[in-house]
């Protein structure tokens, strides 16, 4: 029927070399649209917060706890299975390895994660749920978040360059690598990858076999988390790079991939919101329209985005970037995930109420752009901003005006 070589070619085309980042961008956009149809578009930071709250609950610190277990929290499970998916993809492509960075880097990972937790809770969103999803969901706050990320990334990159000159020892010192996929005797990595895929499919089938509709939805988050994680690892899709590279190397590859991704998502989300698709008639048209539009326009988003931008640049991965790199075996990003998980509940309890208290209502409002511009005007505005972003990164790639390296 077919030659053995044909299956091998198929496998190699997926796992032998990295995908272009824009391929990841488009496929992730399609999955984000599916997540929206199933329940809610892609986000990540609320999942970190839930995992942290469960951790505090286990430790007996109930004021930072929650009544929702991880097994019933769709976003927490999505996060976990993104890690699993990236782990699987890195095993199958023989790119897995436990990489322990020097101690200074591990501390930077933790601090970066903690800053991201503060930024995501204060700004009501991370680069994925707040920005990538938010812009496509026609949220005004998402645009303010983007400005905050840009400023935070710029400042933190200056710090990294300064650190390299003034404190080079932070990124030097003892490092270890275990179970590396390169070299000989690594066939077990691929076997483990296939076994994990089978295990995830089993978990998926258990959730979807339930008569409970909520369990079915959670089951799909398990499955889509696996696929998202695999795509993220293969394409090395990275929103930090989209904000950082124009100021660092000047390369436009990452920003163009993210712009393309938002563009595809924008089309899908607009159709969903316009027609009120999904949720099997449970929700009002207005509730569907307001999905992924948070009470953060504009200063709340700007402040949170700035802090998040600092954190993601120091950690070397945003909320989702942390997940897939953790799955690939970078211990620095495990520290970042740990910092995020621990800090998110603390920030929600102690920092967010303070910020919400001092900001006037007009600086933390839910702005759904079509409410003031109509659907056509809102989509044209977002397209115009994406076009300006594209022109800026391509011009800067050519001229290097804003690039440090």
């Amino acid at each position: 029927m077919f030659k053995k070589g044909e299956l091998r070619d198929l496998f190699d085309s997926i796992f032998a070399k990295s995908w272009p980042m824009w391929v990841g961008g488009i496929t992730l956009a399609v999955l984000n649209i599916l997540l929206f149809v199933i329940k809610y578009p892609w986000g990540s930071s609320s999942g970190y917060a839930n995992i942290g709250q469960n951790l505090f609950q286990v430790l007996g610190i109930n004021s930072l706890g929650t009544s929702i277990p991880i097994s019933l929290h769709a976003v927490a499970l999505l996060n976990i299975f993104v890690v699993v998916g990236a782990f699987v993809a890195s095993l199958l492509s023989k790119e897995f390895g436990i990489r322990v960075a020097p101690i200074g880097e591990l501390i930077k990972g933790f601090v970066g994660g903690a800053l991201m937790a503060i930024g995501a809770t204060v700004g009501a969103g991370c680069t994925t749920g707040g920005f990538f999803t938010g812009v496509a969901a026609l949220s005004g706050g998402a645009l303010a978040l983007g400005l905050g990320f840009t400023a935070g990334t710029f400042v933190a990159l200056r710090y990294l360059l300064w650190e390299m000159e003034a404190l080079p020892n932070i990124s030097m010192g003892k490092n270890f690598t275990f179970l590396n996929g390169t070299g000989k005797k690594t066939g077990w990595q691929r076997w483990l990858g296939w076994i994990l895929i089978a295990a995830v499919l089993y978990i998926f089938s258990r959730y979807t076999a339930s008569a409970n509709g909520a369990a079915k939805i959670i089951g799909w988050h398990v499955f889509l988390g696996l696929i998202l994680g695999m795509i993220l690892q293969r394409s090395r899709y990275c929103i930090v790079r989209a904000f950082r590279e124009p100021f660092m190397t000047g390369e436009a590859t990452a920003p163009v991939a993210v712009i393309l991704s938002i563009l595809v998502t924008l089309v899908g989300f607009t159709v969903i919101k316009y027609f009120g698709v999904g949720n099997a008639g449970e929700l009002s048209m207005r509730a569907i329209e307001m999905k992924a539009v948070y009470a953060n326009f504009w200063l709340r988003a700007l402040i949170g985005g700035f802090i998040f931008g600092l954190g993601m640049t120091v950690a070397g991965g945003c909320a989702v970037g942390t997940l897939w790199r953790a799955g690939e075996g970078h211990i620095k990003l495990w520290m970042s995930a740990f910092g995020f998980v621990v800090m998110a509940p603390i920030s929600k309890l102690a920092i967010v109420p303070f910020v919400k208290g001092i900001l006037p209502e007009s600086m933390q409002s839910k702005l759904f752009l079509p409410d003031i511009l109509g659907y056509t005007g809102a989509v044209v505005l977002v397209l115009f901003i994406l076009l300006l972003w594209y022109l800026f990164v391509k011009w800067n790639e050519r001229t290097g005006k804003f690039s440090a390296l």
Binding site: R99, N180, C238
Partner: protein, 75 residues
């Protein structure tokens, strides 16, 4: 191949290897060869892309005992 300087980026993840690479090349003379060691799979695409962008010459890539080795000639 004559290697003039070696840069150890093992254990580091993005963006540290590229920042270190840029700094290391600044201290070298034109035509000298840098050997860069790393373990981040991202470096396999990042290092050649950065060389192409900056005009430095990416000579070759090898793997040794779990670490990637990149050879770069300063422009």
């Amino acid at each position: 191949m004559q290697v003039d300087q070696t840069l150890d980026c093992k254990g580091l993840s993005c963006p540290m290897p590229i920042i270190k690479l840029s700094k290391a090349l600044k201290s070298m003379n034109s035509g000298e060869v840098l050997e860069m060691l790393g373990t981040d799979p991202g470096s396999k695409t990042d290092v050649p892309a950065w060389c192409e962008k900056t005009g430095n010459i990416f000579l070759e890539q090898a793997e040794d005992n779990g670490a990637f080795k990149f050879y770069i000639k300063k422009k």
